[in-house]
């Protein structure tokens, strides 16, 4: 499961721009991942400038 480290996220939208499943919802200071849509392709983790996303078991 992809998890967000809330204290690291800057809400820049880089992850949203590469998400092929449209599984990320970005608000001004909140980010939500739809785990039903997410295929764990890891593209969002790769582009995050602050490494705010991680795989969590």
């Amino acid at each position: 499961m992809i998890a967000l480290k809330m204290d690291l996220c800057d809400f820049c939208g880089s992850c949203v721009s590469v998400c092929l499943e449209d599984a990320i919802e970005l608000f001004e200071a909140r980010l939500e991942i739809d785990h039903d849509k997410c295929t764990e392709c890891l593209r969002c983790i790769k582009v995050c400038p602050f490494r705010a996303l991680e795989v969590k078991q």
Binding site: C12, S14, V16, V47, C48, P49
Partner: protein, 390 residues
């Protein structure tokens, strides 16, 4: 707020505000929605622009300018420095003021502006986009419109809702980190660029002065490289080496589409502008001017189309075609150059700098710099000329 508008613009950055203002100036009723609490912040931008480009869209106000740029300097991996000969005047903007004023100018033309208005879907009718679903504070709204303009930046979700492919490939996003540093000793106002796999693989580092002792120091790297090491780590190392002891007034992340020309930026009842339409220059990553030029065209076409009650995709391609002539054609060539330039090794870059330094300083034009760097790619020279000389 009305129950129905001619045009709803999603996103109040420079492209959104320009499209909204121009559409209103040409007679359309317009609503502009911004998800954040305030237009203009946070500033996820290095803030540099060329005067010639901005003047195509708007008269520059002195309060928008932080610094007038005196020189542009490029640093090769080995530290060799080339001072670029150029005739355009450059500015480092105060994006907070700039974005705020552009939205204010739109409001002055009658555009209804709402902040903290979070768009989460589109209304559709008979195969046409017909409005926007959004949440504002505690209430949900479904407001109808003849035409929706997606100016929602990098995320570009409005386009996806209408079926356009706006997702970026990893090699087509520059993922960025920036700090505005202070307590620097900047003797003169020049914009510096550092190229090296060590500091920014598949991208570059920028140091753009905000005043005599502060600068935007940031970098962008290709999304492919970011998988191995995050931009913020590269930035930490660069600052430790070059500006050790400086204080950081802001720290931001960001992403820039440095992508191929998007062939389809309109659909029935929908247009995309700015970063949402991947209109940032794929070599420089600069997206303010290109986005605003496209948005001005989009605003004009939008007003005409809603006035004619014809917002079919076919009708709206007037916008795509005019953008092709006023930026799209250059974009296509710039992307080819980007692909070649980012394949150059540090050794190639050092050799380029050495070769340029043998020539007199007045030969260090941007065209000559690219010609020298791309010596092994003679087929790209027409692209160099077209991109930098127009």
């Amino acid at each position: 707020m009305k129950q129905f508008y001619d045009v709803i613009v999603v996103g109040a950055g420079p492209a959104g505000s320009t499209a909204a203002r121009v559409a209103a100036e040409n007679g359309a009723t317009v609503l502009m929605l911004e998800k954040d609490r305030e237009v203009g912040i946070p500033v996820r931008c290095a803030e540099a622009v060329g005067e010639r480009g901005i003047l195509k869209v708007v008269k520059i106000k002195p309060e928008w300018i932080s610094t007038k740029i005196k020189a542009v300097r490029l640093f090769a991996p080995n530290g060799a420095m080339i001072s670029v000969q150029h005739d355009d005047i450059g500015y480092v903007l105060d994006r907070k003021r700039f974005d705020y004023d552009l939205a204010m100018m739109a409001a002055k033309q009658g555009v209804d502006v709402m902040t903290r208005a979070y768009a989460y879907g589109l209304l559709e009718k008979d195969g046409f986009v017909a409005g926007v679903k959004f949440r504002h504070l505690n209430y949900d709204y479904q407001i109808g419109a003849k035409l929706v303009v997606g100016a929602d930046g990098l995320e570009s979700r409005v386009g996806r809702w209408a079926g356009l492919k706006t997702h970026l490939k990893l090699q087509d996003i520059e993922t960025c980190a920036q700090m505005t540093l202070t307590n620097l000793d900047l003797s003169s106002s020049h914009c510096d660029f550092y190229f090296s796999k060590q500091w920014a693989p598949g991208g570059y580092v920028w140091v753009f002065p905000k005043n005599k002792n502060s600068a935007n120091v940031g970098l962008g790297i290709s999304g492919e490289h970011a998988a191995y090491k995050a931009p913020i780590e590269y930035l930490r190392e660069f600052i430790e080496t070059h500006f050790s002891g400086a204080s950081a007034l802001t720290t931001v992340a960001g992403g820039v589409p440095c992508a191929p020309l998007m062939e389809k930026i309109v659909a029935n009842g929908l247009m995309l502008v700015g970063d949402a339409a991947h209109q940032a220059n794929p070599i420089s990553g600069g997206g303010i001017v290109t986005g605003m030029i496209a948005a001005k065209i989009a605003g004009e076409v939008a007003a005409r189309a809603v006035n004619e009650n014809n917002v079919t995709e076919k009708r709206l391609t007037e916008y795509s075609k005019l953008w092709e002539k006023n930026g799209g054609n250059v974009h296509r060539r710039a992307y080819r150059l980007k692909e070649a330039v980012y394949k150059l090794s540090d050794h190639d870059l050092n050799r380029t700098a050495a070769s340029l330094l043998k020539k007199t300083p007045e030969k260090h034009t941007i065209v000559n710099i690219f010609k020298t760097a791309l010596m092994q790619h003679p087929k790209l020279i027409p692209d160099v000329l077209k991109v930098f000389l127009g």
